[in-house]
């Protein structure tokens, strides 16, 4: 008896390769005219809305206020570009404080004891009378600074209203020292030592046992610097948001610090102290900034802040950021999601899925090929859309004189590439959902509810911050954190609501949430695709 073995070629079928599968899916994608039009539409809508939004941020130069929002401070002229101080680190800064100073030639140190820090609120807070108000980041201490010009390099040791002793430098640097409040019963001793470009800060509770808080390098510090005592106190701000109403109010405060046991080493050529109201401080406080000196005891009052400016509405810094130009991303995302959903559901609608699976029986590989094709196409569309919105939008806003936050190029790159990545992964997410539910209407509904609506809710003021924070942590829309235009500084009290572009998760952390949801959807999709009849 002979067994008949059917002929099997030992050569591998070239059409079996994953490359062939990718090519097949790419052909399906590019030959459906509606899908290509959908992708082009996504680019045009997102970039077009970006330019439109940029146009709407241009002040109208009428006699009326150009903004409907209640901003705390209107910088500059109504029609000109507001002027901001650029700090030594390249960021926009506020540099306003009362400075009791002497020049210090070469290396040396200054040591003081702080026995009191008190605060005073202005009369503007909710109509309440002026009174004792010590804000958490009011500051009193010693500083070594490049000069008295705003924005110059510095390092400072200070006691604060609610955050203990801090070493701060060049506007964004901050290191904590001894915690707790200062009082006559528990004074704080502070010391700054200059050695070349290095400035070292020390603190002590008793003046004998000293702790080194940190050393910072201030590049290019001149041989003669200004050193001395300083006091400043930032705006007191409150924000509220409920459905339909977003509000902020802020008013200036003033702090008064009491210093004694001032001792110095090194060469101090001047014979007396000079008082300087750097940046001219704020108005509206009952007391006038200044200092007086009685028998080695200095009482210094100041108002303002030494800190980075915070961008966004209701804040001190520029109110417009490139994130505003990208609010149209949601419309482009809808278009991409519609294409991604139909890329899968059309197979079921036309019965093409049976041909597809007959040609390539490994269903997981089919889904992988589809995901790569739609992801790559969506990334390309997203990149063009985001680059168009950001670059053209910036140009339009700049030339029109908008109050635009200057974006450092690495952040701008992260925002553009990040937006493309969000659109690409969201397209794969939609594809996986469409594979599970097989109906494009249901798939689009799920994507709109989980990504588009949370994003839309996060944009306007007047949605409770607790709701948007929660949505932006757990929904796939968390990935839009990649569009955060400016860092959040814990040492500056400001409006950090999601509607102003400050997301509850870190940029790549938020992206990981979307990737997690997408991975979960893909696993379920592969499981269902393998298990169900096509």
């Amino acid at each position: 008896m002979t067994t008949i073995t059917p002929y099997r070629s030992t050569a591998r079928d070239p059409r079996d390769g994953f490359g062939q599968l990718l090519h097949a899916e790419w052909t399906k994608f590019r030959t459906v005219r509606g899908w290509v039009i959908g992708m082009i539409l996504a680019v045009l809508v997102t970039a077009g809305l970006g330019v439109l939004i940029a146009r709407t941020t241009v002040p109208s130069c009428s006699s009326q206020s150009s903004s409907g929002q209640q901003g705390p401070v209107q910088h500059g002229a109504a029609c000109g570009q507001p002027s901001y101080t650029v700090g030594s680190g390249g960021v926009l800064v506020q540099d306003e404080f009362y400075f009791v100073r002497q020049p210090l030639a070469g290396n040396g140190s200054i040591t003081v004891r702080v026995t009191s820090l008190t605060g005073l609120g202005s009369e503007q807070i909710n109509g309440q009378p002026a009174g004792s108000l010590l804000v958490p980041w009011s500051k009193a201490g010693i500083v070594i600074k490049d000069g008295t010009s705003q924005g110059s390099a510095y390092a400072a040791m200070m006691v604060t209203g609610g955050n203990g002793v801090r070493l701060q430098w060049n506007y964004t640097g901050d290191t904590p020292g001894i915690p707790g409040a200062v009082s006559a019963a528990s004074p704080r001793w502070l010391r700054l030592t200059r050695d070349g470009d290095m400035v070292t800060g020390y603190d002590s509770a008793d003046g004998t046992h000293w702790t080194r808080v940190g050393s910072v390098a201030l590049a290019g510090l001149p041989s003669t610097v200004q050193a001395g005592l300083f006091v400043t106190s930032p705006l007191y701000t409150t924000y509220s948001s409920s459905f339909g109403v977003g509000n902020g109010s802020s008013s200036s405060t003033e702090a008064t610090g009491v210093f004694d046991h001032v001792s110095r080493t090194g060469t101090w050529p001047a014979s007396a102290w000079t008082g300087d109201d750097v940046g001219a401080g704020n108005l509206g406080v009952a007391q006038v900034p200044g200092y007086h000196q009685v028998a080695g005891r200095f009482t210094v009052s100041g108002s303002g802040d030494i800190a980075p400016l915070i961008a966004g509405p209701l804040n001190h810094g520029p109110s417009i950021t490139v994130r505003d130009f990208l609010l149209g991303t949601f419309a482009g995302l809808i278009a991409v999601a519609v294409v991604a959903a139909m890329f899968m559901t059309a197979e079921y609608r036309r019965g093409l899925i049976r041909t597809t699976l007959a040609a390539s029986p490994d269903r997981g590989r089919v889904l992988a090929a589809k995901a790569i094709v739609i992801g790559a196409a969506a990334f390309a569309a997203g990149l063009a859309a985001a680059a168009g919105a950001v670059l053209i939008g910036t140009h339009v806003a700049r030339s029109g004189g908008s109050d635009l936050f200057p974006e450092p190029w690495p952040t701008e790159l992260r925002i553009i590439a990040g937006t493309a990545a969000v659109i690409a992964v969201a397209a794969v997410f939609t594809l996986a959902i469409a594979t599970m539910v097989r109906r494009s209407a249901t798939a689009i509904l799920i994507v709109i509810v989980t990504i588009v609506i949370p994003f839309v809710l996060s944009a306007p003021p007047g949605i409770p911050a607790s709701l948007t924070d929660w949505l932006m942590r757990i929904t796939p829309a968390a990935a839009f954190a990649l569009q955060q235009p400016a860092p959040q500084y814990y040492q500056v009290q400001a409006n950090y609501m999601t509607s102003s572009g400050y997301f509850p998760l870190a940029p790549w952390g938020g992206f990981a949430v979307l990737c997690g949801w997408t991975a979960l959807a893909l696993i379920l999709a592969v499981y269902l695709l393998r298990r169900r009849d096509a």
Binding site: G34, G38, V45, L49, L52, I53, R55, T56, T57, V58, P59, S60, S62, Q64, S66, S67, G68, Q69, N126, G127, S240, S242, F243, G244, V245, N247, S319, I320, D324, L327, G328, F330, A331, I334, A335, A337, V338, A341, M342, T345, R349, S402, D403, R439, S440, A441, A443, I444, L445, I448, V449, V452, I453, V456, A459, P460, P461, P464, L467, S499
Partner: protein
């Protein structure tokens, strides 16, 4: 010699009014026998009331004065419920295309405009009922007294939902594919509030709010500071009505002259 289908059916049923009634009956049977219609209508009403109640609970009025408009606040849910209304209206048309049912429908009822009109009347009626229940519940949850401007805000919100449904129906008829229609309508609705939320230029902000179907239509909910609105409440609803009429006319023209 055989008569054309249209004349045949006219001969059998006799009269235009009778034909319209039959079309309504046929569409009603189709709608009522699909399980999703009831669930979606219920979902639209429940979502509207739920979000409205959440908004009432979440509102905090400072002692210095409540800036929020209580009627508008109590009807916040309409902004969420409208998404489901969009889906109901889109599926009425696009489901027929995705299943191929449209060919049977048009064979039985060759007068296409009558078919579309019957669909529009039924969708409007269903949304009117669901919207009225939802708006009444929302206002009651907000403990507001109905007569006066609140009545206008509540009944106007119902009309708003009806117009949103008609706008969706028109767009769905034009594009046929459910996913594309839902994407287009929701994109059109949300794009104006998102863009105006950051518009620093008041001139642009007012004009964009005036022409946006959602922004202008929702003026009907305002009962406070009417003088500061770019349009009166009824003018705002009129803008949405123009959008809905435009979408229906374009949808009807395409439906009339395109192969099914």
């Amino acid at each position: 010699m055989s008569l054309p289908a249209a004349e045949l059916s006219r001969a059998r049923y006799g009269g235009r009014a009778r034909y319209g009634r039959e079309a309504l009956h046929a569409e009603w049977t189709k709608l009522r026998t699909v399980a999703s219609t009831g669930w979606l209508l219920l979902g639209a009403a429940v979502l509207t009331v739920a979000v409205s109640t959440a908004a009432d609970a979440g509102a905090t009025c400072l002692s210095t004065g409540c800036q929020a408009d209580p009627a508008k606040l109590s009807l916040t849910g309409v902004q969420a419920g409208q998404a489901i209304v969009v889906i109901i209206a889109v599926l009425v048309v696009s489901n027929e295309y995705s299943t191929g049912m449209i060919r049977i429908t048009l064979t039985a009822m060759p007068r296409r405009l009558t078919v579309l009109a019957a669909k529009a009347v039924l969708v409007a009626g269903l949304v009117l009922v669901a919207g009225a229940v939802a708006a009444l519940e929302s206002v009651l949850a907000g403990r507001l007294i109905l007569p006066g401007p609140v009545l206008r805000a509540a009944s106007g919100s119902v009309l708003y939902l009806v117009l949103i449904a008609l706008l969706s129906l028109g767009i769905a008829t034009a594009v046929r594919e459910s996913a594309v229609a839902i994407g287009l309508v929701l994109g059109l609705l949300y794009v104006f509030p998102v863009v105006t939320s950051v518009a620093g230029n008041q001139h642009w902000q007012r004009h964009l709010e005036q022409i946006g179907p959602m922004t202008a239509g929702l003026y009907i909910q305002a009962t406070a500071n009417l003088g500061s609105l770019p349009l009166t409440p009824w003018q705002g609803l009129g803008v949405l009505a123009l959008w809905a009429a435009g979408a229906l006319i374009i949808g009807a023209l395409i439906f009339r002259f395109r192969d099914a």
